[in-house]
Amino acid sequence: MSTKIFLEFRTHIDLDFFALGIPVRLIRLLSDVQLKSINGWSKLHKAIIDTGNPISVIPYSIWQNMEKKILLSEPTSLYGIGSSKNSAITGRLGQLTIVFKDENHVSPPLKIKAHLLDNDLAPFIIGYEDILTECKLVSDYKHDNAYLEFD
């Protein structure tokens, strides 16, 4: 039997563009997750579902005290639009266990690889590897319906 975890769209208007007479919606698809800690599970964290990210990205404060395996001790860099070697975000490739939650459901635990950041300069981002590769993602903004479905 499959498990559906409902996601939420957050929509707000960029006020700077709006002041210039151009209403631009800034939309994020959000999930709620918990990570396996040494003694149980972490607090609930908000995470952005991002199909443009090949791998999940986790801020330092969130992964720091969790049960984890560092897969590569050498730091790696993550590049985004406009970033260079000097401005790339750094971290380490690691592995943790995650569950997704909504008000009524919990997903099966997933062992995932993720980029564990050296700081909190980026939000928690859910990428493809080990998560979106393991479930069905439905993202229907028009009908305010989005979920992950796990077999």
Partner: protein, 81 residues
């Protein structure tokens, strides 16, 4: 499917979901007032903000006595990750 046994996952208080919903509905104002900071929401108001999640969470826990509340990144502008 792996056979690893996991500890039970405790339920999340309703207040978390209510505060989460409020944060989404008021995100424009939150990101204007706390641009690109981490922000803790308890009882439908911002109770702590800062650049480090663990510090924001600690301040919010000490102020409110609560354990479960959303901490969101109040991104201002268009961020492409």
């Amino acid at each position: 499917m792996n056979s690893e046994i996991y500890p039970p996952i405790p339920p999340t208080p309703k207040e978390y979901w209510d505060d989460s919903k409020w944060a989404n509905e008021n995100f424009s104002e939150i990101s204007e007032q706390y641009p690109n900071l981490w922000v803790a929401i308890v009882d439908k108001k911002v109770v702590a903000s800062g650049k480090v999640i663990s510090e924001v969470r600690k301040i919010a826990e000490e102020k409110t006595g609560r354990e479960h509340f959303p901490v969101i990144f109040a991104e201002k502008g268009i961020h492409v990750y």
